[in-house]
Symmetry: C2
């Protein structure tokens, strides 16, 4: 069991980073993408098929999510596999969903 550290007041740069993280999760299309890769890593093409958007659009979202460390990126041959880098991301979505359902 980890110790409970009293909340410190976050500021400036930290707030920006946290906000950026939340903002990345704040697009339905990106949430769809996260759902598409939550079980296992998938190629861009698979994700495109799963979410029903253009390849260009999906590719940009994937780049943003990977740059933020939310997704992992691994190239194999001519395919690129994207996957969740942290299960916490799914947990966040579940928590919010549960909160909304009430």
């Amino acid at each position: 069991m980890s110790k409970r550290i009293p909340a410190r007041r976050l500021q400036g740069r930290e707030l920006e980073q946290i906000a950026t993280h939340f903002r990345l999760l704040g697009e339905p299309m990106r949430l769809k993408i996260l759902q598409a890769v939550c079980g296992e890593s998938r190629t861009v093409n698979d994700i495109v098929s799963a979410v029903g958007a253009t390849q260009a659009n999906v590719s940009k979202h994937l780049s943003l999510l990977a740059a933020a460390g939310i997704l992992t990126r691994k190239k194999e041959g001519q395919c690129v596999y994207y996957g969740l880098s942290d299960p916490l991301t799914l947990k966040l979505c579940e928590l919010v969903h549960a909160q909304l359902v009430g």
Copy 2:
């Protein structure tokens, strides 16, 4: 202990709602506001002083957060008190912060 319900694939409207919730948390100024009210409910003026923004700007953010159910709103005399409606909101921020710190 609540039962672990297997994740269902969310869609359409639900994704929009979850995304909206995250998007609301995706602004540094709103995170500042959340920090200002996390201990106890505070008046708009107190919040304005705490976060260093204009009254109009803070008021608009408060309206959005309250409309989304993230903040509670209680009027007393000529003052309006805003407070966190669910401790989960803070937990979300802590989780993301912890994840970023690594």
